[in-house]
């Protein structure tokens, strides 16, 4: 698509006119992707610091005392303390953050496992031995993702209420499975499509069993994909608010629900709010930073391929 764009734009005139001459060389080096680009680096770094500033500020404020947190101008160099964290985890505030953290962990981990159990066979059926009309099926999966949650949340609420599964973490786990399944099928399919057809055929010709083919040919290609898919499902479940707010309450409330209630119940203690935000974001931040490449790979493959 893009390969023909250059011809006719007049840039070809330099060819052969003065081979090896200085101007051409300079132009070449400017486009050379291996060259260090200091100017771009400085701008990129400034932008990166600017974008990270609210996160860094949140972390710094969480280590300040309440007095130092709420000053104008900001007290950047104020002494650091763990008070806010102690108060957040301590019983002095009257509410323990542990149940919501455990609920979030359960909702994220179990729904991710369920998603993988459903998505991997489906992705296999859509990529390695594709069913007829596999693109239509894949588009159906994607189209369910485009339906806003608000359009289904009321029937879910009514159903949960009448069946007694309101404020039940397992019902939320099923809903998160449904929420992440389309993305997971979509991503896993692109990863499995990477398995070279020739290798599968060769395995078949050699009489390899399905299990052996899965283990030796498909698994090595699929493993990074499974990791990336799990990571993204985990993040989306951990972050979700609307369904959790509507479908859970006291017993099964997740961390985001807890966080929204935290401010109202505690009044505004800025350092404590920041500490709570840090604690609740920490699992995602750590997982995301540690597996950046997987995340990028997962997003771009899942989104673009």
């Amino acid at each position: 698509m893009s390969s023909t764009a250059l011809t006719g734009s007049g840039t070809r005139r330099g060819v052969g006119a003065d081979p090896g001459a200085a101007p051409r060389r300079r132009r070449k080096s400017r486009l050379d992707p291996t060259r260090n680009n200091t100017a771009a680096g400085i701008i990129a770094w400034l932008a990166a610091l600017f974008f990270a500033l609210p996160v860094l500020w949140m972390v710094l404020t969480s280590f300040h005392s309440e007095q130092d947190a709420a000053t104008n101008p900001p007290s950047v160099a104020a002494s650091l303390t763990l008070d806010s964290y102690a108060q957040f985890f301590g019983s002095s505030s009257g509410v323990s953050p542990w149940p919501p953290l455990i609920n979030s962990a359960m909702a994220s981990v179990f729904s991710t496992v369920l998603v993988l159990l459903l998505a991997i066979p489906a992705a296999y059926a859509l990529s390695i031995k594709p069913v007829k009309k596999w693109t239509d099926v894949l588009f159906f999966f994607l189209s369910t993702k485009m339906m806003p949650v608000v359009a289904a949340v009321l029937p879910l609420y009514i159903f949960a209420k009448s069946s007694g599964s309101l404020d039940n973490i397992w019902f939320l786990i099923l809903m998160y499975t449904s929420m992440n399944l389309p993305i997971a099928v979509w991503m896993m399919r692109s990863f499995l499509a990477e398995v070279p057809v020739e290798m599968l055929e060769a395995a078949q010709l050699d009489g390899a069993s399905l299990v052996l083919t899965l283990r030796k040919v498909i698994a090595p290609v699929a493993m990074p994909g499974i990791a990336a898919t799990s990571l993204i499902c985990f993040i989306f479940s951990w972050n979700e608010l609307l369904l959790a707010r509507v479908l859970t309450g006291v017993r099964a409330g997740t961390s985001p629900v807890f966080l929204t209630g935290f401010v109202t119940s505690q009044g505004l203690f800025l350092a404590q709010v920041c500490a709570a935000a840090v604690v609740i974001s920490l699992p995602v931040l750590v997982a995301g930073f540690a597996a950046q490449d997987k995340l990028v790979q997962g997003l771009s493959l899942g989104a673009v391929k």
Partner: protein, 321 residues
């Protein structure tokens, strides 16, 4: 639900259709379909069924506080949604929010992707910092924006303004109160901050998939940086720009967390998802909420049709593999 709008892709795999499939072939076809079925059935039950119920409720008089007065309402709820000023405002807010956040984060994301595609000192760390907004739990991010950044008395923005004022000898530097004077702008700002890294990641993947031979040919031909950008990079990135924009749009149309946390829908910042939530959760107007929900879906289908077409063009290439 939206699949009907899709063109038939025509990729037929396996053997050409025979007039009468043998039992063996039918069995093979089912063996291929079997792994797909659990996921498909699960999704139909959990997403399509509730939506059908939403459509049914949208045609009913149903206020949860008046359980005896339920019945068929015809289009009354839809008329209510489309003539009610709050709902019309919510539709407008949803459009403004989605369009502005998508466009601004796409443009900034493109610039950042182009910068990060260069080689420079500490590029990996810079990328890590840039991903951070995408990784903070959205509610936590919204809380931090509301209380630690935008708060008029001790937020970071006014703190910095005071600090600059003190440095320049101005005892009363200008102070901002975005949350009460420009609440929608505050929501847009925090969402742009959160979505720019997402756009950057998709565009970065696009940049890295630029065909190397074409880039090399352009270098050999002595193309300038701008020429390469205009004639190679931009056409190549077009599909990634469209996709990032449309995926972003699908998520931002549905945004709940930022509106809920930053403004609680106050001061004319309620978008449709928030309005629907309020209508059924606090006003208990199940019928009206469902009608509004159906309208959100119709709007999303319009966006999604474009999205699916874009994905479809990407897809044709691979289907031809």
């Amino acid at each position: 639900m939206t699949t009907t709008a899709l063109p038939d892709t025509g990729r037929r795999l396996g053997r050409a259709p025979l007039l009468r499939p043998t039992a063996r072939e039918r069995a093979t076809a089912w063996a291929r379909r079997a792994p797909l079925m659990p996921a498909l059935i699960f999704l139909i039950i959990t997403t399509q069924l509730p939506f059908v119920v939403t459509i049914i409720i949208s045609f009913m008089n149903w206020n949860a506080l008046k359980p005896t007065e339920t019945g068929f309402a015809g289009f009354k709820n839809y008329v209510e949604v489309l003539t009610n000023n709050d709902f019309r405002q919510a539709i407008l807010v949803t459009i403004v929010l989605t369009v502005s956040v998508v466009l601004v984060s796409l443009v900034i994301g493109l610039v950042l992707a182009l910068l990060l595609n260069q080689k420079f000192f500490g590029r990996g760390l810079a990328r890590t910092l840039l991903i951070a907004p995408f990784l903070v739990v959205p509610v936590a991010a919204a809380l931090v924006w509301k209380h630690a950044i935008l708060n008029p008395t001790y937020g970071l923005i006014n703190g910095v303004l005071t600090w600059i004022g003190q440095l320049t000898g101005n005892a009363n530097p200008p102070q901002l109160d975005l949350l009460s004077t420009q609440p929608l702008l505050a929501v847009i700002l925090s969402l742009v901050w959160q979505w720019t890294p997402f756009m950057m990641l998709i565009l970065l993947a696009g940049l890295q998939s630029r065909p190397a031979d074409v880039m090399e040919a352009a270098q050999m031909d002595g193309a300038t940086g701008w020429q390469v950008f205009r004639h190679i990079t931009l056409p190549h990135l077009r599909q990634y720009l469209e996709l990032g924009g449309l995926l972003g749009a699908i998520y931002i149309v549905q945004n709940f967390d930022a509106v809920f946390t930053l403004t609680s829908g106050g001061l004319g910042t309620a978008n449709l998802p928030y309005a629907v939530y309020q209508t059924f959760y606090f006003a208990n107007e199940y019928g009206v909420a469902s009608a509004a929900g159906v309208i959100v879906v119709i709007g999303s289908i319009i966006v999604a049709t474009f999205a699916l077409r874009t994905v479809f063009t990407l897809f044709k290439k691979e289907a031809a593999r």
